[in-house]
Assembly symmetry: C2
Homo-oligomer: 433 residues x 2
């Protein structure tokens, strides 16, 4: 059976991989991008070049939008040459860009205002990076009406891993909310990876040995493992994952949080660290270049530590403390937004926001195993704070910035001041109300 | 009556001013510094040069230590050539350096261990900057036994403004604690001045006009008015008040706070911003150079705003929000440390940590005029958060870092999440427990 034609806009790092993967699966994909060079590259990879948005959309029952931001999505959908006016009746329109839930919801309103309520619109952001995009093994979080989800399902499944197409309950906006709460972890862990390696450098630790210790421990994060090779090689141009991308995602989180008056101290702290790097000109570089905000020289130029074992333990404790509060922040915000928490946990576990701490302690938070109900032998908030405190003091003695470590410690102290000190460390989630 | 001889160590920016002021008042001051050039400069100003610590101390009934840090104080007091071994019986030893209360208390212990319990030791940090040091109009916060305070009083009064010698109840450590809680405000406001002017630049505002609007408003801080000329002139070398100095003071605050497990989210945020500037090489520069962490170009090179009135209001709202939470953080920490709050308020009002918000809302917090007891017509936490939220969103749209603005907003959101939203904005202090 021949595959249906697909329209596609946004042939950047992620979009190019997704579109060419569909080409390999036998779909005639009509791709457009604002950069002619990207269209040429797509043509060379077997895609069908579209010279205008109109050409990419006319007669296409399926259409995928993978531009970089909500304003770009607004423009390609509803601008002067916007695709909505060209799509056929009952077309299936998949918005895969990362936008806020309210941006996704406003697309529905505008479709109706323009008399295109017939279009089957799906809010379906993706996660996984350029490599998984090209392999067709992305995580995709899709929210829509049942009719639209059924219509989009096969194509979304082509682009996602067999087990990573998440049909998120809650309609339009639910997919974007799921992606957003996932990105709470991603935004913190990307900065956290540089913070941990910056501390390691100040402590005189070998970067590779430290990273291996992290990967083998409960301090592991997906982001650390993913970013570390580029960080240590200083392979920052062009950015495989540009600083501006995670900055945009952090901005979606914190502006949504502000709309709900919900505190996100760690994610805000990471965002401010990214903005400071932007002021220093690092925006287009790979986000692993955040290491430069913590340590001024290459990681290969450290002075060796006298006691690498104890020093490595400090780095692990930093990550444990930050990852714990990150898990609390993500779970608390997800719960507040009424995100399906079991699905959220399953998704994160398999995606870029994963950490060992989230997988274990995050689940305990989700299941309400906090306070007296925590598993026997769990460390207390006081104990978690005491360990992180020792790291923060050591970093301070070394003049090493520790944005996330300090923010996490202050959240733990707030938990203590509000009576949770002797309770399990997962009880730190109570600070979020 | 001839004035008694005074020994003095630490002829840096502050110490030189203090020592030469005593010289002008007729005291024979025997000054020592680790840098021979500083001793020469002191000699040229009428001081008596001491070529060793011993020479500065032998036979001196009064001795003033004004070195830069606690480790330096430890060394000049108790090192191999330390002055304690040379001071006469019942000498009056004034430690004017900014150190932690526990550092000051450990001096007492060590004096006793060395059989020098006869020395009348005074914990007497100062505030006010190099100019006021030279004018003899510093603020001095002195804690000690009554006997030691009486013995030191005349000399401390020589160096301080008539109304700004504070005899702080509580003995050794009380002076340092008073200085420390004052520096909570100083550390936040120094960073806050650059943050506000950075936002102003991103908004396209003229720096001088904006500063004048700030000085004339309830957003005024002493630090802003003091640092602004150097910030706008880029007069950063050598630092009139080096970044490393406020960084040291912030470190005393946050490490003391950690010892008490007390949260200081704003002060920690400022400290991390300073540490990041240090990584970028700004340590020896004037702390007003923090503006470079917010805006990459000189303030004179901004693109003019279309609506300067509305934009200026955003800058004022930023400072109001930050100064409010700064006041809460300082008052809460001072109360926790059992600092005399009435004296604290009076002192700050006349010193470098002053802000209009602290003078008014800080007093309301001290007097317990929060919640239902706030003055009629006070804004609520919700209202304060909503105003700051608009600023934070605008700054984010402009890619302007807003470390303190975001941290303050998260504290306000936490107050809302814990049920204080409809209460007076001063109720934000409840977040500190």
């Amino acid at each position: 059976m021949s595959k249906p034609a697909v329209g596609f806009v946004g042939l950047g790092a992620m979009g190019f991989g997704m579109a060419t993967h569909l080409v390999k699966q036998g779909y005639p994909v009509h791709g457009y991008d604002v950069f002619p060079a990207s269209i040429e590259r797509f043509k060379a990879a077997g895609g069908i070049p579209a010279s205008t948005l109109r050409e990419s959309a006319e007669g296409k029952k399926y259409y995928i939008v993978m531009v970089a931001s909500a304003p770009q999505a607004q423009s390609v959908l509803f601008g002067d040459d916007g695709i909505v006016q060209y799509l056929p009746q009952n077309a299936v329109l998949m918005l895969c860009s990362t936008v806020s839930a309210s941006d996704a919801q406003s697309v529905v309103t505008e479709l109706q205002n323009r008399g295109r309520g017939d279009i089957l619109f799906v809010d379906s952001p993706v996660s996984g990076g350029a490599k998984r995009a090209a392999d067709g093994t992305l995580s995709i979080m899709a929210g829509a009406t049942d009719e639209a989800l059924n219509a989009a399902r096969d194509i979304l499944q082509e682009m996602s891993d067999e087990k990573k197409l998440y049909l998120v309950p809650g309609g339009i906006g639910a997919g974007s909310n799921m992606k957003m709460v996932h990105q709470v972890l991603a935004a913190i862990h990307i900065c956290g990876a540089s913070e941990a390696m910056g501390l390691a450098a100040h402590l005189g630790l070998d970067a590779r040995a430290t990273a291996e210790a992290i990967f083998a421990s409960d301090a592991w994060t997906w982001m650390h493992e993913n970013r570390f090779p580029r960080m240590v090689e200083e392979d920052w141009t062009p950015g495989a994952s540009a600083l501006t991308i995670i900055l945009k995602d952090a901005g979606i989180i914190t502006s949504s949080a502000r709309q709900h008056r919900f505190p996100t101290p760690l994610c805000s702290t990471a965002e401010q660290a990214y903005l400071t790097a932007l002021v220093h000109g690092w925006g287009p570089k790979d986000d692993s270049a955040m290491i430069r905000q913590y340590y001024a020289k290459p990681l290969s130029e450290v002075s060796p530590s006298a006691d690498p074992k104890a020093a490595t333990e400090l780095v692990l404790e930093l990550m444990r403390g930050v990852n714990l509060v990150a898990a609390a922040e993500a779970v608390a915000f997800a719960r507040y937004l009424k995100v399906d928490l079991a699905q959220f946990h399953g998704l994160v576990t398999q995606a870029a926001g994963a950490s060992k701490i989230f997988i274990q302690q995050g689940l305990e938070m989700i299941e309400g195993l906090i306070g007296d109900k925590a598993p026997e032998g769990s460390p207390t908030v006081e104990q978690a704070a005491a360990k992180l405190e020792a790291v923060v003091q050591k970093a301070r003695d070394l003049h090493c910035p520790l944005h996330l470590g300090n923010a996490a410690l202050n959240v733990l102290f707030q938990a203590q001041r509000h009576g949770s000190g002797r309770h399990s460390s997962t009880s730190v989630i109570r600070v979020y109300g």
